[in-house]
C-alpha cells in the first residue's frame, strides 16, 4: 500500500511540474461566459450569450451609440421617412462584403427581411423548428400580421421598407442584435444548419467566425476585409464557457481569461483592491418590481397597495443586496432610458404612513390573511370570494442583474411588511420555468417578484411592453387593469416624434404610480471584471459591448 501511494504521489508531482499552463498570444482576448451559446443565428435566439458572440461579427442597418440607448446609422448610411411614418428609405453603405465574399447590397438586405417575415421564404424554415421570436414580438407577426408589409430593393444600395402602421421604436428595433444582416449565400448553403457549431455565422462585422466547440469556446478572428477601421488591437477572440462563478473569478485571477460578467457581489472588493484587476459597471437598463395579483381582494384597494409600497425600504434593500452602483426604483422605465423617464414620481419609505393607510383601508390590526376572488369564463375577476389564504410573497428562483438574491430580498421585504402589520410569507413557486409558467397564467396568488431588462432602448419595450394591453385584465400581469395607462401607451407606440412620446410615457408612469399599481424596487447595473491588460471597454446598457474597441496591453 505504501508503495502504491508513493508511486501515485510521485506521478502527481511529475505531472504537475511537467505541465505549467502555456501563455496565450498577446492580442487574443479571452472572455469567460457563464454558459454555452444556444445558436449563432441572431434572428433565432434571445439569450445574451449567443447574441454577445454574434455582436462581434454581425451588424445591423442601425446601431446604438456607445454607452447610450440612442441610435445611429450603421450598415445604412442614412435614412428618410415619409410624414405619415409609413415609408422608410435606407441608403446603404457601399463597398462592404460579408465574410464569405458575398457583396452587401440592397438585395441582401431585402433577402434578410423577407426571410424573417415570410413563412414561405425558402430559408424561413419554421416547420423545421426555427423560431423568429423577436421578429414576431417587434413587428407584430409574420406574413399578413407583419407590420412590415413590403421591402423593396429600389437601387443597388437603396432599400424601401413599408409599414402598415407607424412604429415609434422602428429604428431602435432595427438596431437590435436580432436584426443583424447575414450573408444570403451562406444561409442558403447551410439551410437549417446556419448558426449551428458546424457553420456559425457569416456577416459583415470586424470578427469572423472560426470555430465553436460546444461548452468549451467560440473562436473568432479579425476580419481583414472589414469596411472600416477597428479601433482596438484584438486579433482573436476566445469566448469561453465557464459556468461556475467562482471558477470564472479564479480563471481571471490565474490569467486564464481577460474578463467576465457579473462577479459575485462579495468578490467585488477583492477585485477593486487588486493590482491587476478592475471593475466596470454597465449602465443599468433594468427594473426589479413586486407585482400584485389583483385576484386578491385586498390588493384591489389602492390604500393597501400604497401602504405596501410605503412599507418597503428600497434604500436598505439596495444597500444590502446590490452592488454600489445600483439605485432604488420609483418607476418602470429606468433613468437611463432615452425618453419616457419620469423623475417626478417618488415612492418614499414611510412605515408610519403605511400603518395609517392600512387602518384607513379597514385593517387597523394589519393583514395576515387575504381573500382570493373567482374568475368568470372570460378571465375577468368576479366579486365572489373563492378562497382565504395567507399573504404570500413569491420570490424568483434565479439570479438576474435586476435581482441578485430573490429569496434574501423576499425575506427583507417580508420583514419590512411585518413592521407595519402585514404578515407575508416568502414563498417559492418552483424552478424558473415553473415560476414563469405560473406567473403568465396568473397563478401566483399574492405579491410576486419579477423584472425586465430592455432590449432596444425604447420605452415601448419597457413600460409599453407590459401595459399597452391592460385595458382588459391580463393573467400575465396578475389581472392588472388600467385602461387609461393602456390608452396612453398605445398612442405613444404609434407616434414617431420623440418629444410627444416622452410626454405620453411620463403621464402613463404618473397615473400608474398614483395608485401604486405595482411596486418598483431597484435598477441594478451589471458589474464586469477585467484584467488590467484590457482597456477601451465601452459598456452598453443592453450588454451589447463590442470587442473591436478593446486594446490589450
Amino acid at each position: 500500500m505504501r508503495r502504491v501511494l508513493t508511486y501515485f504521489s510521485l506521478a502527481m508531482v511529475v505531472l504537475i511540474v511537467a505541465v505549467a499552463p502555456a501563455a496565450a498570444q498577446d492580442t487574443t482576448f479571452r472572455w469567460g461566459a457563464f454558459g454555452n451559446p444556444v445558436q449563432l443565428d441572431p434572428a433565432l435566439v434571445t439569450d445574451g450569450i449567443s447574441l454577445n458572440v454574434t455582436n462581434q461579427g454581425c451588424e445591423a442597418l442601425a446601431s446604438f451609440v456607445g454607452s447610450t440607448t440612442e441610435v445611429e446609422p450603421w450598415l445604412a448610411e442614412s435614412w428618410t421617412v415619409t410624414e405619415d411614418g409609413l415609408t422608410w428609405t435606407f441608403k446603404l453603405r457601399e463597398g462592404i462584403t460579408f465574410h464569405d465574399g458575398t457583396p452587401f447590397n440592397a438585395e441582401a438586405v431585402k433577402w434578410n427581411f423577407d426571410r424573417w417575415r415570410l413563412t414561405d421564404h425558402p430559408q424561413h424554415l419554421d416547420e423545421e423548428g426555427q423560431v423568429y421570436e423577436y421578429y414576431e414580438a417587434q413587428f407584430g407577426g409574420f406574413d399578413e400580421n407583419s407590420i412590415i408589409t413590403d421591402v423593396q430593393a429600389t437601387g443597388e444600395y437603396e432599400v424601401v421598407i413599408t409599414l402598415s402602421q407607424p412604429i415609434g421604436a422602428f429604428l431602435n428595433n432595427l438596431a437590435m442584435s436580432n436584426f443583424q444582416i447575414a450573408s444570403p449565400t451562406a444561409v442558403e448553403a447551410a439551410g437549417a444548419a446556419y448558426g449551428t457549431p458546424e457553420v456559425g455565422y457569416v456577416c459583415t462585422g470586424p470578427f469572423k467566425f472560426v470555430e465553436w466547440v460546444p461548452d468549451v469556446q467560440v473562436v473568432m478572428e479579425r476580419y481583414e476585409g472589414y469596411w472600416t477601421e477597428i479601433p482596438g488591437n484584438i486579433t482573436r477572440i476566445e469566448y469561453k464557457s465557464i459556468p461556475d462563478s467562482a471558477a470564472r473569478f479564479a480563471a481571471l485571477q490565474a490569467g486564464e481569461i481577460d474578463g467576465f460578467e457579473q462577479p459575485n457581489v462579495e468578490d467585488i472588493p477583492t477585485i477593486e483592491s487588486s493590482d491587476n484587476l478592475y471593475i466596470v459597471y454597465r449602465p443599468s437598463f433594468n427594473t426589479f418590481y413586486l407585482a400584485f395579483n389583483y385576484r386578491i381582494q385586498e390588493f384591489r384597494d389602492p390604500l393597501v397597495r400604497q401602504a405596501i409600497s410605503l412599507a418597503i425600504n428600497r434604500e436598505a434593500i439596495v444597500g444590502a443586496f446590490y452592488n454600489e452602483a445600483a439605485v432604488p426604483a420609483n418607476t418602470m422605465n429606468p433613468p437611463t432610458i432615452a425618453i419616457g423617464f419620469n423623475p417626478d414620481v417618488k415612492t418614499p419609505y414611510d412605515p408610519e404612513k403605511a400603518k395609517e393607510l392600512l387602518a384607513q383601508a379597514g385593517f387597523p390590526d394589519g393583514l395576515s390573511e387575504v381573500h382570493v376572488l373567482g374568475l368568470d369564463e372570460n378571465g375577468n375577476v368576479t366579486d365572489e370570494v373563492v378562497e382565504t389564504i395567507p399573504v404570500r410573497l413569491y420570490y424568483m428562483p434565479v439570479v438576474r442583474p435586476y435581482n441578485p438574491d430573490g429569496e434574501g430580498i423576499a425575506n427583507a421585504m417580508a420583514a419590512d411588511l411585518a413592521a407595519v402589520g402585514i404578515n407575508a410569507e416568502a414563498t417559492s413557486a418552483g424552478d424558473w420555468s415553473t415560476y414563469l409558467s405560473e406567473r403568465s397564467n396568473g397563478n401566483l396568488l399574492g405579491l410576486y417578484q419579477l423584472g425586465w431588462t430592455g432590449d432596444n432602448g425604447d420605452p415601448d419595450n419597457f413600460i409599453g411592453y407590459f401595459f399597452h394591453d391592460v385595458d382588459k385584465p391580463l393573467a400575465r400581469e396578475g389581472f392588472y387593469q388600467n385602461a387609461e395607462v393602456a390608452a396612453l401607451l398605445q398612442q405613444a407606440r404609434a407616434l414617431t416624434d420623440p418629444a410627444t412620446r416622452d410626454a405620453l410615457y411620463k403621464e402613463a408612469e404618473a397615473i400608474h404610480a398614483a395608485g401604486a399599481d405595482r411596486v418598483y424596487i431597484a435598477h441594478g447595473p451589471v458589474p464586469l471584471a477585467f484584467s488590467k491588460r484590457v482597456s477601451g471597454w465601452v459598456p452598453s446598457p443592453f450588454g451589447k459591448e463590442l470587442y473591436k474597441y478593446v486594446t490589450l496591453g
Binding site: M1, F8, A24, T46, A137, P197, V213, T434
Partner: protein, 334 residues
C-alpha cells in the same frame, strides 16, 4: 455461460423501453415547458401557445412519443429545442468528455480504494485502519464544490501549477479520433497534447474520485472482514498456508462480488454525468448539459441523453453480471 449472457441481454430490453416512457412522461408532468423556458420574462400565454404549436408540443402525447421513438429507431436523436441543433452532434462531442473523466476517476478510485480496504481489513483496528477509514469518511463528507474550489485556488490560482478550465488548451491542436483526448494523443503520437490533456484531467479527476474511493475502500473492508471470519479461511491457515495466498487467493476472490458491484454502480453514476465537477471545471461533458436542459425543459435533449445514459447503465450492469458469473460459477447455474 452463453445462454446466461443471452438471457441477461434480452432482459435489458424492457428496461430500456420502460425508461423511455418514464422519462417522456415525467418531463411532461413537471410544470413549465420549452416554450416558457425559451420566452423567459417574455412568456405570455399567446406567445407560449404560438411556440408550442411550432414545436409540435400541442400534439397528443402518444403521437409525440411515437414520433420520437420512430425517429430514434432510424438513428435520429432529434434537434435541440433551443437552437435547433442536431443532438447527435452535440452528444458526440460531450459524451467522450464524460467517459474519459469517469474512467480516470473510477480507475484511480479502484486502484487505490481496493488495496486500502484490504489493508484496513487485514490490520483491523490498527492505526492504518483508523486513519484510512477516517480518510474515507472525509472523502464522502466533503462537498464536491468545496473540494473543487479549494483545489482550484491552491493548484490553479496560488501555485499556478495546474489548469482548471476545460480539457485541453485552445492553443494545442489535437486530431480527434475517439474523442477521448488521452487516447487520441497517444494514437496520433502528439505528446504535447497528451501532457496537456493529463494536466487538465488531474484536478477534476481528484475531485471526482474522492466519493467512489471512499465507498470502494469501505465496502472492500467490510466484505473482506466478513470473509476473513469464515471457517474456510481458518482451515486454510490451519493447513499452514502463508498469509499472502490466504488473503489473495482465498479471501479476496470471495470478497470480490460486492466490490465489483459497487465499482460498476459508481461508474454508472459517474457516466450519467458529474454535474458539480463538470460545472466547477468547465468540463464539456453531459452532466452539466443534461442539468441545463432540464432547467430549460429542452425535452428532446433530456429524453435522448437519459436514454443513452440508461443504455450505458444497463450495459455496465450487464458486464457486472457477467463478471459475477466469472468470479463465482454458482451464479451461472442459479
Amino acid at each position: 455461460m452463453s445462454k446466461y449472457i443471452i438471457r441477461r441481454a434480452l432482459e435489458s430490453i424492457p428496461v430500456i423501453i420502460g425508461v423511455s416512457i418514464l422519462v417522456f412522461l415525467l418531463l411532461r408532468l413537471i410544470p413549465g415547458d420549452p416554450a416558457v423556458a425559451i420566452l423567459g420574462e417574455r412568456a405570455t400565454p399567446e406567445n407560449v401557445a404560438a411556440i408550442r404549436e411550432r414545436l409540435g408540443l400541442n400534439k397528443p402525447l402518444p403521437e409525440q412519443y411515437v414520433i420520437w421513438i420512430g425517429n430514434l429507431l432510424q438513428g435520429d436523436l432529434g434537434n435541440t429545442v433551443r437552437g435547433n441543433i442536431p443532438i447527435a452532434n452535440e452528444l458526440r462531442s460531450r459524451f467522450p468528455a464524460t467517459i474519459e473523466l469517469s474512467l480516470v476517476a473510477i480507475t484511480l478510485a479502484s486502484v487505490i480504494g481496493v488495496p486500502m480496504g484490504i489493508i484496513s481489513a487485514v490490520r483491523r483496528n490498527s492505526v492504518v485502519d483508523t486513519t484510512t477509514m477516517f480518510g474515507a469518511l472525509l472523502g464522502v463528507s466533503v462537498p464536491i464544490f468545496v473540494l473543487g474550489l479549494l483545489l482550484i485556488y491552491l493548484f490553479g490560482v496560488q501555485l499556478k501549477l495546474l489548469p482548471f478550465i476545460g480539457r485541453i488548451d485552445s492553443s494545442i491542436e489535437l486530431e480527434t479520433r475517439t474523442g477521448l483526448f488521452v487516447v487520441d494523443s497517444i494514437l496520433t503520437g502528439n505528446w504535447e497534447a497528451l501532457q496537456n490533456t493529463i494536466s487538465h484531467l488531474i484536478l477534476p479527476a481528484v475531485t471526482l474520485f474522492t466519493v467512489p474511493l471512499a465507498i470502494i475502500a469501505r465496502i472492500t473492508r467490510s466484505s473482506m472482514l466478513e470473509v476473513l471470519n469464515q471457517d474456510y479461511i481458518r482451515t486454510a491457515r490451519a493447513k499452514g498456508l502463508g498469509e499472502r495466498p490466504v488473503i489473495f487467493s482465498h479471501a479476496l476472490r470471495n470478497a470480490l462480488l460486492p466490490i465489483i458491484t459497487i465499482i460498476g454502480l459508481q461508474l454508472g453514476t459517474l457516466l450519467s454525468g458529474a454535474v458539480l465537477t463538470e460545472t466547477i471545471y468547465s468540463w464539456p461533458g453531459i452532466g452539466k448539459w443534461l442539468f441545463d436542459s432540464i432547467i430549460a425543459r429542452d425535452y428532446p435533449i433530456v429524453q435522448s441523453v437519459t436514454l443513452v445514459v440508461s443504455l450505458i447503465y444497463v450495459i455496465i450492469n450487464y458486464v457486472v453480471d457477467i463478471l459475477y458469473a466469472l468470479v463465482d460459477p454458482r451464479i451461472r447455474v442459479a
